[in-house]
Assembly symmetry: D2
């Protein structure tokens, strides 16, 4: 049973904008990259085309949010800390805390969340239909302990 995942990522040149900092949309790309790596770490893929790895389900987003505290710059190494905040019958919510090291200490630079829904392909329903999270996936994921989850956000 897993409830968290950490990965480190380097800010690349096209992640930046003319203000000299990482464009705010890329924090969402980084969240998603951590989410997908989390699934891979459990032996799954979010690619519903790969039925053996995905169990035929995909995970579109129903809500995304991010609070920005400090800018990231080119070549900054940022740690993305994924925590499972909620698991419902058909949905999950991940919390993401972004930290970089300044003078050897981790400093929070941003905090975000993604709420995703478990779906299968369904042409009749306009492309996809929400379904209960497959038991094999549900069996490997649990909500993080309360003391790890910040209150409020």
């Amino acid at each position: 049973m897993a409830y968290e995942f950490k990965m480190t990522r380097c800010v690349e040149f096209p992640d930046t904008d003319m203000a000299g900092i990482m464009h705010f949309t890329n924090f969402f790309r980084f969240m998603e990259a951590a989410e997908h790596a989390f699934h891979r770490s459990l032996g799954f893929s979010v690619n519903w085309e790969k039925a053996d790895k995905s169990l035929g389900v995909g995970w579109p987003r129903v809500k995304a949010e991010c609070e920005y505290k400090r800018p990231l710059r080119f070549e900054d190494e940022v740690e993305i800390h994924l925590l499972v905040r909620e698991v419902g019958a058909k949905t999950m919510t991940y919390l993401f805390i972004f930290r970089k090291h300044e003078d050897g200490k981790p400093v929070e630079v941003a905090r975000g969340s993604l709420t995703v829904v478990c779906v299968t392909k369904d042409k009749a329903a306009g492309g996809m239909k929400a379904v209960v999270i497959p038991a094999a996936i549900r069996a490997k994921i649990q909500v993080a302990p309360a003391e790890l989850l910040p209150k409020g956000n």
Copy 2:
């Protein structure tokens, strides 16, 4: 005094992902495009390098969020409706409602918001410093009437 702005945008090929729908991060790009067009419509630029148009201020994001209701697909025409939800001394919050037309009727596909802070360049403060919104900008922007602003979100 302006409190809203509308623009229409076409979903382009690289806006889509392998699920066949617009990647969720691009809704944030569309919000920002509408915000910047709103400023241009008032005679301003968000580019703080153009001092005459920006009054020397920039507008980094402190919070971004989006709720997704229906997918957008390649070549969909989507209306982005910006509404000014809050104006503080140094910050503003915009609400964005995304609509496409189905069978001639507008259908809401997503709803988001951006909270931005007014800053000037300040090397001592690590690159930028929050400042009071310049009077000339403040004079042209007002909060949308309550009946236009959805409750809750």
Copy 3:
């Protein structure tokens, strides 16, 4: 019979990078946007899922190139001039000339090309297979007159 297409596009904030100019990859996005708008102008879509508009074919790239002469900056208006350079049995090559206006005069800022191949879906062939350009499309597109096509590139 069409051999050219022009569109104007505004450089947006996330198109820029920390050097303060449009990131070089976005010129390729702009080329593709002009290519797709060219097809729409002829009544077609490059989306092979829309069989009535695409005649069931798609157009993956086999070659892309760009020469950069001057940078583009945020809010620059750039004209993208598409010219059909070659039409083969299964492939087409487009030339793109990017111009912006300085002091009222058009100035070339970049020049690129895309060579695309006409394909249909084919699971056996690993996803797609090159096919002869459908006659209905071929009938509407011709190579631009030699005097419009720069020599060399």
Copy 4:
């Protein structure tokens, strides 16, 4: 003296498009990522703001090209092999060969190149000015042996 660099990269979800394959523009992002990692491997940064690491120079592109042979898909691991093809007084050209492993064998999926020019900031010259490559950088980079460089491209 270095003349090559290799890195491996995983195709991420937003790198793909509705055709189910990596969007062609991302090959250029991958080339640039390898170029920047190559500079870091030599102790340099391409960020001209970091004067100690960049020697005050930046490297805008003057030409970019790519030939596509096979598509890349979500979660494909691709090797990017950078080779220094030419070094002039003020410019350098890199060749990039993209390979993925199929049935244990490396298969070339694309091949590209970037020609970059060494510049310093120069407000009078419209932002930047071409300069001779600093000797400290030049001393660490050499052209790859002819047998490693494909003819033609």
